[in-house]
Amino acid sequence: MLELLAQGFGLILNGPSLTAIVLGLLTGIVVGALPGLSATMAVALVSPFTFFMPPTIGIPFLLGLFKAAIYAGSIPAITINTPGTAASAATTLDGHELARQGHARKALEMSLFASIAGDLMGTAVLIVLAAWLASVALRFGPPEFVMLYLLAMVTITSVSGRHAGKALLSTAIGLLIGSIGLDPMSGAQRLTFGSVDLLGGVTLIPVLIGLFALSEVLVQSEAAWRRQTTIVVEGNGPGLSRGELRQAAPTIVRSTGIGVAVGILPGIGAEIATWLAYGAARRRSREPERFGRGSLEGVAASESGNNAAVPACLIPMTVFGIPGDTVTAVLIGAFIAQGLVPGPLLFQNNGPLLYSLFASLIVGNLLLLIIGYMGIRVFQRITTVPASVLYPVVVALCLTGSYAVNSSVGDVGLTIIAGVAGYLMRAVHMPAAPLVIAMLVAPGLENALRQSLVLSGGSPAIFLSRPISAGLLLLIVIGAGLFLWRQLRAPSPTT
């Protein structure tokens, strides 16, 4: 592992790769600092560009964008009480209060240091755990993969809010969309209706761009922006002291552990990690009454939790080919486009290249520390870009990016349709994440399911007779049972 990591550093420590990482970080900071632009949206939008770059340039760019966007969501959370990304929602509770009290600089610096610390520790876990898990996963057969895919779908469905029926419907539609095209085993055409464009299935990236980026533009077109006065950092108190940072260290470590644990579970992601970490920090704090009233600990907890989930999400993605969250769902597409097929064989067949990407995460953290610290005064001004300029440009990039995937005008139409569908889904509280993840795992799930049933002569007992499969099935049953029980006990979901 260390030898592979050393080779990885050797591949990444060159001008073009470092430039790509820096550009990715800067792009991610801009995206994260702008409310209404999410990390998923940005990665979906930008990933087609990377298909034409070598993997040691394109993928580090995307990974840098991902981590920086998650960090930079704290900037508007602190300065204008609006999280730049959903993963920074918990940071608004204490971050903006600190800014109101004249401690914006402290809050921004704590956010930066906590994010870097969480991300670095999460990356260490990724490097150590992923290789070991991959060696275990080599022993997985089709029944185990069926259970893993089902676990991912049950997990993402159960955390998609209290609208269970809608989440299930979203999953079902995603599975159906994923089935469109030629059957991988027999070559029969399914749900193509004679269209040549659909023989290869529905292209993932244009759908993602529409669902996450274009739908957000539609939402923002209806939002009446009332920006609070941006708090300027120059005149806003001293920076973070070493004592304050030392005091927050236990919180950062604990929140990192929560972030990593959440990130490893397929289908969850940083948005959940931040709240769990914040809640745990408040419960364990010596001054819980300060939370929500300007607690540096609160900022440290939410930011280290959400950034620790970033590398952790890459574990299920690289080892099993199952997305840890919606961003990694897009990253899977980018990996495949670069010839890196996620799964246990990725470690065997592309070890040095894969470890170069892990090395880029470490390098990216160090660069983010420098860029973030130097740029604190500048980045908070990003929040002042007018919506009337920003969103039209985002739309133009969406449509062109969709075209660029396959040089297909049909994909542009697909993006527009997905964008409108995504907007209507949000209007009726139908979550999009289950649809995306189901669409992504459908081919793998179908393959594994059919292989399992062929192996067993059509008997589903194969899922019970193998210990790992049976264990995962038990987890699925428990998870689904808890979810259904909560649904039946809960009052009608409020709008």
Partner: protein, 162 residues
Amino acid sequence: MNTPERGLTVRPAVANAALGLLGLGVGGFVLAVLPGQIGAPGIAQAIDPSGPGFFPVLAALLSIGAGLWCLLDALRPDPKGAPERLALRRSAWVMALLAVCGLGLHVAGMLLALGATTAGLAVVFGERRPAVLLALGILTPLGIHLLFERSLKILLPGGWVF
């Protein structure tokens, strides 16, 4: 902070009912057309685990089940408080512009279509300064041309006009 503007009101029961019908419709449609597409005499044959119809049939059944769940939710009393608002004023304009852009690609070419769309969207988002609209309409396609066609060597579609 963002606040949603006024728009159409959609009762949760109506939304749930619509989604329920969608789930039933999608699932039923797939069960109806799939056997013919894969050459199976009927659904019973299509569900053979080694055949191409197995997985889509399972997904269709899940869709039907989810649709029934949504219909059951529609029977629950509406929650207290303001009904859901489906804002459609500006977003309808955005959708219309996107549709025109998509249809107009073949006629105007991608760069021209994007320039016009960008300027139009800026108007929808509240921009009224002619200089800014003109700059967006020219600089956006120019930037895309430089990025995609010059840097990434991706040829964008032309049209009859340009």
